[in-house]
Symmetry: C2
Subunit: 106 residues, 2 copies
């Protein structure tokens, strides 16, 4: 820090098909995910607020029971403790930002 | 909310050459900047913590007196109240995330 190159940091498979470059700051966790087509994000929630921004590909995300097709330019805002799940329709590159820090991702 | 498409939201010129799509959440401000080559970010600081992730192009950023050439894959972490400035070497697309919310950007 304060500047890193994601390509120099290890890609961590946090869930099957979800490989991420993770950066933890004082109050946020920033992740660039490389997601394999067909990968499933099981329904879950967490106290962290989340912003999901699709950069490449298509990701189907269900938030609080509402299904959305996310494509480049889509930004999903997931409030604290709201249930969400997802499925990679194609290979995707996705940026997630959480606040506060995802201690479970360290 | 909870899902928007940035291309449907207005591009706001917050500083000369810095045109952004802004999304404010409960605790964060997410910005996708389209920056014109040569645009200057004057030295400043703010209490918000900031993550800067260059998606396209090259941006020279000086953080706490240290100069960095940011290219795709570069992520800069700017702690609260740290002085920073910058210059777009080329046209750039940059994601910035601030916490807490940038009330001055509403």
């Amino acid at each position: 820090m304060p500047v890193i190159n994601l390509n120099d940091s290890a890609l961590r498979e946090m869930m099957p098909g979800f490989n991420g470059h993770l950066v933890h700051t004082e109050g946020m966790t920033f992740v660039e995910w490389h997601v394999t087509a067909g990968a499933l994000l099981p329904e879950h929630s967490h106290p962290h607020e989340q912003v999901t921004a699709v950069q490449e590909g298509e990701f189907e995300m269900t938030i609080d029971g509402s299904k959305n097709q996310l494509t480049p330019g889509s930004v999903a805002v997931i409030p604290s403790n709201v249930l969400h799940s997802g499925r990679a329709v194609t290979d995707c590159t996705i940026i997630d930002v959480f606040q506060p820090v995802r201690e479970d991702y360290r």
